[in-house]
Symmetry: D2
Subunit: 311 residues, 4 copies
């Protein structure tokens, strides 16, 4: 269950309240505020708060006194210029805060992005819910034979069923034992008065890495885009990409001009090495170049051909 | 002149606009929004935007789904607990953005606080205004004889007048030469068509360190409090303390519970070393202790006596 | 097994090599270099590299041209002054790098210290070893009844045995299933040629949080001391404290003057709030104060009495 | 004067001392250690200490137990792979510390790189030397007419002489007044016993931005390369580029494999936007594309043609 009735009621209650503010406000993001965007089988991403908008990027770049009276097209042009030349500090002037529910193994990748603020649910202090991630059939992939950190073909039939059974069984069993060792009833009293419960900070070590945790996570727009450029990338593990994709939707609603510049100059862009550039110049000059004569490794050659649409 | 008519008009215009938001809103800070709090002779601090409030600290500490239904006193108690035990991450969940006009030598101290976002007016790109800081008579102090980085008695009479004349003369002269080297008229054309202007990025090197610059500066509440604990301290240089004092007023309006906890557990608190604690214990036990027998240096002894109100 | 023969041979080989350097060198830390300090049942901390020494702190604080000719006592005095007044930047001029083997649930606490550099063994790319943490009998504690994130009395007899059996059983079982799902033989070929192995990045989710991982971790001395002040503290969870304690030994060998100042002004020091200071002043004045009349909460009163040795 | 005899003697003395170490050591960088690389008219860059080498990058990427027994070519290949795919964390495992003497206006650009450690000479505490930067004739450039933050043609003849006179005159005058206001003799006594000296923290505000300051600056290899990619770039202001160029020489000596990868994949590389890539594909397909039909702005089109060697 993604959200309990009580949680949904709290969210609904927050969504109904409104107050006037003099701050920059983005109606499209206000519409999404507090609502849970579903991710994976039990997870979500919720926008909890935000600061700034596209105009705030421009305002900071110009260190201006007001919101400015320039035309929208001028602002968009400046944002594109900033993105293209990696002038990152104006994008740091916007900030967003999410509430995220995610499996622990995803949280372990995510937390490597250090330029962010995090408050995670404490399993030292509280008891984790009985929820764990099980891949949907289409995401249950074999090990890639060519890429040591990638996936190959999807498992099917009995192979898939056996894996899913194993994951479900082990997560269920270890959680049951976790609960048994804790020995806490719903009323806070021992479930079994005849024995003592293990300390929460110890019992949690019995949980598997697909157990769900949750956190508040806050970052500025520059660091958020850095996160998304890595985690919404096709090389990212599917499970974290699912979160990044949901967050991309929130960025599109929040700062549409910055979002488009990000697509054009980051997500859809390619960096060519000095050697790759030399190859492109030779190709444009009509010079027939092949991999052995290119100075590129086979892998780099393949990447370049892919980038140039010649794969 | 702190603000031109045009700048004040832009500010007034922003203050009149309002929009509904679902976000946490703080009326007392909304009242201050965009307005310039005067600092020093030409400087100011303006709150440009903010995210979160006292309840957002609590919400993050609890990783809760809504704003919560606890009583205000419970929230205040949790905030005090977090502050006392230096659980800093929940305070990182609030963010504030300022527009600041300040002398360059103050900016050089300020920028040492790295966990913040900054966009400064670029003197490579634009021309700085003819404004420089001159200390008010009561702040024109002699070098301290006891503290190498402190101030002693205030200069008076001719001594003070001579210093002020020198500061004013040199700032004016170097600015005039700066403008002369730039050779730019109000219309963007050369002021003197008979010669070329020096590059802005070079001409600026002729300015003195009391020239005013300005920037957008954004930080989370935890790092802001760290800044204030150092810069609103009595050991900070007066000129940066003047900014910190103005910012303290904005924090009081923004997050009153956090502000009170900050006063009690940080600004008004004292850290006693292991040796100092041993002295206090002996004193409480009625054991007469003097500096030579205390194990403390003279300076530490004096600090301890001061802390204990026995100076 | 903490280290294989092959790993120990690699370490021994590195310990035997030496080269001349003009850099600051600390013989006491050189003695420890590369050697594994055992922690918990299978973990370790190894110092891999370091930069600077006590004199480097002094050199940076003075921005001096050479190593200086001051007496050792002057340097120690300056270091103590810097520590006492929280002048942290000179301590950032020393750096240390560790190789650490640790359970995942400890790694999850550790990684929250963001001002550090980390490279963790990738379970997306490689296969984790069959090693997991099982608490020693004296650390198998019940949940504290007074502190929600603390431990109470040690479990004994059948209670302890049941918990240990469960932890061991579940870690073994989930690892066996992990290996089964991977289906990789020692030669890189499928262990069972009749089926495909699950992608490593997926299979790992079946592991429990007491599985050992390892990483390279590097920090400057200031941030290391921040880590140690929190993690070598009595409120830290025992398992991470065990690592912090081993690291304290390395700091003592590396920068003995800084280490002593750290003990005196941080680890052995106490911060008294404004209200606590008022109580101490009243006590010193002979004024009988009790908790209700102190303005302190019961918990704060107890903490103060403990600090003052009156518990 | 770049270095006094006393300073040079301290440096020579440090260069003559050597000690054995088990740490990774780089003879080519040891040769440079402590020596001052001259920059601008009075500045310098000195390598003070370093940690790690190319092999340390590889070691961290592999989380290995020893220095490894792989061939050099394999290590170089891994380093190139890491650089190409922006796997930045292994490069954070190397660290370098510099002592730099630089004009204040350069320091103000430099300090914007926040992921570094800095101790600057304190003009609050000490007295700055009478040294200021004056551009060499070939660097005294007019304002660019096309680029608001760039330089145009070099000033010559009387124009140049007038500017240099002005810069020299003003720096000299303001320094003389600074010294006068301080009123400190070489013996620490008042130069003029008949009046009091102004506090150092105030007097410094009279200095111009070309006054030299100095600092210890330390960064990890990843952040150093980020600094160099921006500051050794042709768009950087000449004066900071002069420092970056000297530092590039130290990186080449220190980590030659990383340095080459950095040249190939960062300094010599180009990032093409989604629209630019589309143009390149059309060109390669023999499709005649011009700027109006390209979807690129004139400026982006010019950049692309320049990148493709068709300018």
């Amino acid at each position: 269950m993604r959200l309990t009735h009580e949680q949904q009621a709290e969210i609904d209650s927050q969504r109904q309240a409104a107050a006037p503010t003099r701050r920059a406000t983005v109606p499209a993001l206000e519409d999404m505020l507090y609502g849970a965007l579903p991710v994976l089988d039990h997870g979500f991403v919720r926008v909890i708060d935000y600061m700034g908008d596209d105009a705030a990027v421009v305002q900071a770049a110009r260190v201006s006194y007001g919101r400015g009276t320039r035309r929208v097209s001028e602002d968009a042009g400046l944002i594109r210029y900033l993105m293209r030349h990696r002038h990152s500090t104006p994008f740091e002037m916007c900030e967003i805060k999410y509430h995220v529910k995610l499996p622990i193994f995803v949280a372990r990748q995510w937390i490597r992005h250090r330029m962010a603020n995090v408050n995670e649910y404490s399993a030292r202090y509280s008891i984790l819910d009985r929820e764990f991630y099980l891949p949907a059939p289409e995401h249950l992939a074999a090990q890639s034979s060519s890429n040591r950190q990638g996936r190959g073909a999807v498992l099917e039939g009995e192979e898939a069923a056996a894996v899913l059974d194993m994951l479900r069984h082990d997560a269920t069993l270890t959680y049951d034992h976790y609960a048994h060792m804790l020995n806490e009833g719903a009323d806070g009293e021992p479930a079994d008065p005849g024995r003592r419960g293990l300390a929460r900070e110890l019992a949690r070590m019995n949980l598997t890495l697909n157990t769900y945790t949750q956190w508040y996570w806050k970052a500025d727009l520059h660091n958020l885009l850095g996160f998304l450029s890595l985690r919404a990338d096709s090389h990212a593990q599917f499970e974290i990409r699912a979160y990044a994709d949901a967050m991309l939707d929130t960025v599109r609603a929040w700062v549409p001009q910055t979002f488009q510049a990000f697509l054009d100059y980051r997500m859809g862009a390619a960096t060519l090495s000095a050697q790759m550039l030399a190859v492109v110049r030779r190709l444009l000059a009509g010079d027939p170049v092949d991999q052995p004569g290119s100075g590129l490794s086979k892998r780099e050659w393949a990447e370049l051909m892919d980038t140039l649409g010649r794969a």
